[in-house]
């Protein structure tokens, strides 16, 4: 009875330790996957923003206020994910993330939040449908992107854009 309890406890400890190792391995395995994921998500942001820019610049007239609302919602959505996309240990390799992301993390989170606020505002403005206001707010969204890239991302060579 006592013996089995000891064995049970020991096995439990081993199991907990193993689970810890597995979790650790999961978090640390392939930082590259996380880097690729966030770069894809950012490319997605770029796609939505670029479609909005084409409208703001007057290059296309195709875009409706409903599309603008949908794009704005998508951007607001990814803004919530940004904090989780930069776990510790993903600061080296094929990434343009700057170490300041982890050194000044509160500022980084604030920059992500600002993107959420500006894109939510765009969705609101789009509901009203005022063309000048929508164009102005699209510029604000772009500035929120730049507001994070400025302190937290290394410059990209134009060829990779």
């Amino acid at each position: 009875m006592r013996r089995s309890l000891v064995i049970g406890l020991a096995m439990g400890t081993v199991a907990v330790a193993m689970a810890g190792i597995v979790a650790e391995a999961f978090a640390q395995a392939r930082p590259l996957d996380m880097i690729r994921y966030r770069q894809s998500a950012m490319k997605g942001n770029g796609g939505y923003l670029n479609a909005l820019n084409a409208y703001a610049k007057g290059e296309v007239t195709l875009v409706t206020k409903d599309t603008i609302k949908a794009y704005a919602a998508a951007l607001a959505g990814t803004s919530l994910e940004i904090p989780g996309m930069f776990p510790a240990g993903t600061d080296t390799g094929r990434t343009n993330a700057k170490p300041e992301i982890w050194q000044k993390n509160a500022d980084f989170l604030a920059a992500a939040k600002r993107l959420g606020e500006e894109s939510t505002k765009l969705a609101e403005v789009a509901t009203g449908g005022n063309e000048a206001a929508m164009k102005e707010q699209i510029g604000k969204v772009a500035q929120a992107c730049g507001g994070c890239h400025q302190p937290f991302r290394k410059p990209l060579p134009p060829a990779s854009r």
């Binding site: 490319k43 942001n45 670029n50 610049k57 772009a142 730049g146 410059p155 060579p157």
Partner: protein, 311 residues
């Protein structure tokens, strides 16, 4: 003094009375002139603020990273020659430039020479500001002198021998500096000339976007063609209209929009030092001025110069 007072008719008293009325008239004239002068100064400050934005003076002279006060200096500017610390340019009379005359200020921007006659290092882009008009320089000073003063002492630069020798700057200037106000090109439109002035004299875009030689001089044969090791060691892309290696696919709408928002045609948004330029400078200009800059830049010779850094 009352009428009939025996003193009234003495010659001395007459002179005194005359003087008094002269002062009264002069005083009245001064009072009348004061609002006009104040108005002229307010106009100069207002124009100066726009010049200040267009010339992007604040980022270098403000230690934003450490929450430093506007124009109080102390921002670290790392270069291949060592780290420079920008000086305090608030109107503080002890630590800043509060005692400077208009002529002192003009000489600093036009010639890169300080009031005591020593030569500035070209991290201070006087090499571009030399192109500014006298009027713009005066207005700029009026604006800077209208801002709060900050009693923060300057930090010495941390640069190695022999680059720390200021007198060597005389030689540097002979090699790489041409002094003089921007001369409009008569064959070009007013808009083109305005764009050139904003880009070259005020915006000093070339200071970052032109590669430098070993002595830190700008390579005039590759004007705006990008630099792999720009300021703070960051690469600055080729912004000549070269199709493959520059921004040849952009039109003036794209470039003006990027100067307003930071968004580039591929969907990305610039960061690093350029985001700061947009936030503090080009983003605050008029649409007409941004368009003039865009048209000017896209009229530059296309230079094949690939800027790439392995990721």
């Amino acid at each position: 003094m009352k009428d009939g007072d025996p003193m009234t008719s003495t010659p001395a008293n007459v002179v005194l009375k005359c003087l008094a009325s002269v002062f009264a008239i002069a005083g009245a004239m001064l009072l009348a002139a004061a609002p006009a002068a104040a108005q002229a100064n307010a106009d100069a400050i207002k124009r100066g603020e726009y010049i200040f934005r267009a010339a992007d003076c604040s980022p270098c002279h403000t230690d934003t990273k450490n929450k430093g006060a506007l124009l109080a200096g102390g921002r670290a500017l790392p270069t291949p020659f060592g780290t420079f610390y920008s000086p305090n340019i608030t109107a503080d009379p002890v630590n800043g430039i509060g005692k400077w005359t208009d002529a002192d200020f003009t000489r600093a921007l036009r010639q890169g020479v300080s009031p005591d006659g020593s030569h500035y290092f070209p991290v201070f882009p006087y090499t571009s500001f030399t192109l500014m008009t006298d009027q713009d320089i005066k207005d700029l000073k009026a604006y800077i002198f209208s801002l709060p003063t900050v009693p923060l002492a300057n930090k010495p630069h941390n640069i190695g021998f022999p680059f720390n020798l200021r007198f060597l700057q005389i030689g540097w200037k002979m090699l790489f500096f041409t002094e003089g106000v921007y001369k409009p090109a008569p064959a070009k439109s007013a808009e083109w000339n305005r764009g050139a002035y904003l880009t070259e004299a005020l915006g000093h875009c070339a200071e970052c976007h032109t590669p430098r030689n070993l002595l830190g001089g700008m390579d005039r044969s590759r004007w705006m063609a990008g630099s792999i090791d720009g300021p703070e060691g960051e690469m600055a892309p080729n912004i000549t209209p070269h199709e493959a290696t520059g921004i040849g696919e952009w039109d003036d709408i794209d470039l003006a929009y990027m100067l307003k928002t930071g968004a580039v045609p591929g969907g990305d948004v610039v960061g690093s030092l350029m985001a700061e330029v947009i936030r503090e400078s080009t983003g605050k200009l008029t649409d007409a001025d941004r368009t003039a800059m865009a048209k000017y830049i896209l009229s530059l010779p296309a230079i094949d110069h690939k800027i790439e850094k392995p990721r």
